[in-house]
Amino acid sequence: MIRSDNGYFGEFGGRFVPEILLPALTQLEDLFFQLRDEPSFWQEYLTLTQEYSGRPTPLTPLRRLSRQLGGAQIWLKREDLNHSGAHKINNVLGQGLLVQRMGKKRVIAETGAGQHGLATAIMAARLGLEATIYMGDEDIERQYSNVFWMRQLGADVVAVTTGSRTLKDALDEALRDWAASVETTHYVLGTVCGPAPFPEMVAYFQSVIGEEIRQQALQQMDRLPHAIVACVGGGSNAIGAFGAFLDDPEVELVGVEAGGRSLDEGQHSVRLLKGTGETGIAQGYKTLFLQNDDGQLGDTHSIAAGLDYVGVSPILAYLTQTGRVIPDSASDAEVLEAFSLLMKVEGIIPALESAHGLAGGFKRAKAMQPDQNLVINLSGRGDKDIFNIARAFPQAEWTGFLQREALRSKELLAETGGQ
């Protein structure tokens, strides 16, 4: 189990929040520290993920693609098969159990791609909680389909119009809400970031991914994999996949960040590679942030909204510093290529976030031997992202369809007068 040293991982982590949030964080930490050592709590969590979300997710061999690339045998850890379509639900369900124990009746969350917001809205519906989801105005427009579903699920989606109107502003706004509502409300942080105990707690819940990989590898490969590759936004799917292997130095752990259009300022979301992120303290914790000389957080870009974040898990910042995790990045163009390849050769539609892991993994696998095994964590599915994918592969037919659908929708609205 990944454990912090009083909230820190090396020099990263900590708890840098307005005083008003301290009691809630302490309460959460106390509860979590107590529960994480009870085997029955982990069992309760596993049962919930099994009966509701279909865990364990399979480890799928990519036989055709591995042959085609001519290197290592590639396997996908299928987090895309989770309920809601991504690994985000693991963390959210775990936090849901904590919410129930705390007796709180309302949850809030920040979301960028909308995937964590959707997962939170789902959990809230399942447990009968009120949910408010903060989402940048820009992201709402880019990820409208997730907004659509969150609202259908009964969640209140609040558009954040301050700052860059994206994930980091949504996080700021969620913290503001929490400051006012902390006595009745739990803040469901979506990744292994933020103030302690969030990084440790989210890593704990997501560790189910790596525990399963370990068991499945021993069963399906008869040995541990040679390498595990995962995309890195905040870092939760990567930490989840890596966690069970930290003490097996023969297993390479590779985190792939969003290389975006280029490594120029504002054109990517790479924080772990030299010359990109710098140590800073913001949004409640200390880690590598993209920032300028004045300590202002920077602009980011990625084709995958879920990787488009300015900070990164303090755990990953630490593990990269120690050399245990190898940082890599994939450009938007490489990602689209990997995306198409997986679809056409294996019939699996990856999330654009996850396609970063694919791009990094395929490249690595090619340089390896057929008797070696490489696991890529497929953190989510792509069919939820049709608007994004369609933007990435512009086609006249799609444009035409949208125009007709907009017209039909307008007529329908006129007929029914809306809801």
Binding site: G14, F16, V17, P18, R176, A180, E183, F289, L297
Partner: protein, 253 residues
């Protein structure tokens, strides 16, 4: 100079460095001093001001576009501290811009240009404590915040680490408007005073002469910030200063 315990109510107000622009800051501060404001926070604008309400958030973002920064703040401080020795200037900032500048260097520089206090809302007491010798040496007062949900032991710890005054967050949350100054509030103040002889500065929700009158006799300082920034945005710094003066005049202290 911070007030003494139980002194008559003083008004603290605010400048976001770079808002509406750097030149205007100087004029606005002069206006504030003239209007009777005794304490002034100089806020380093930040991209992610999580402890601020929307007025200040938007001011921060505007300020950043107009050259607001740590260096600009120090430069401004150097000028206004010299020009207005009768006022007390407090550096207000989120941690990261200071951290990036280099904390030791920053504190030295701030003290040397005349800054007397520090308000850093995302720097908890545990992280501040190791710095206390430095602050004491430099004559810089860390002004820590207490909130209505702060447990007693923690109030005690915060009180011990604070210098100059304690910032009393009047209510839960940074947004929302109406704050009550009734019995609950009084017992909240009493709770804090058990642990400190420092004057109390009350912030959040101080938006009118009525609020100031309600606080007079209860606390030593009232932080009148967001509302002032709203005036500044809507009416300009001159009118804002006039309104401030008029309001302070209404206070029956």
């Amino acid at each position: 100079m911070f007030p003494k315990q139980y002194e008559a109510l003083q008004v603290m107000s605010h400048a976001v460095v770079g808002f509406p622009n750097l030149d205007e800051n100087e004029k606005a501060i002069a206006g504030l001093v003239k209007s009777g404001v005794k304490l002034i926070e100089l806020q380093v604008p930040f991209s992610d001001p999580v402890a601020d309400g929307h007025t200040l958030v938007n001011a921060c973002h505007d300020a950043l576009k107009h050259g607001g920064s740590v260096r600009a703040t120090l430069a401004l401080a150097e000028k206004v501290c010299a020009k207005h020795p009768e006022a007390t200037f407090i550096l207000m900032s989120y941690l990261n811009p200071l951290y990036r500048y280099g904390l030791q260097a920053l504190f030295e520089k701030a003290a040397s240009v005349g800054i007397e206090g520090l308000i850093i809302p995302d720097w908890p007491v545990e992280e501040i404590e190791p710095w206390l010798p430095t602050f004491d040496e430099l004559g810089l007062s860390p002004i820590l915040m207490v909130t209505p949900n702060t447990p007693l032991e923690r109030i005690e710890r915060i009180a011990k680490a604070s210098r100059g005054m304690i910032y009393v967050v009047s209510r839960m949350g940074v947004t929302g408007h109406q704050t009550q100054w009734g019995e609950d509030f009084q017992s909240y103040l009493d709770r804090i005073r058990q642990y400190t002889d420092l004057p109390l500065a009350v912030g959040f929700g101080v938006r009118s002469a009525d609020d100031l009158n309600a606080l007079a006799g209860k606390t030593e300082v009232a932080a009148f910030c967001s509302k002032y920034i709203e005036w500044q945005r809507n009416d300009g710094s001159d009118v804002a200063a006039e309104k401030m003066e008029a309001m302070i005049g209404e206070v029956s202290a």
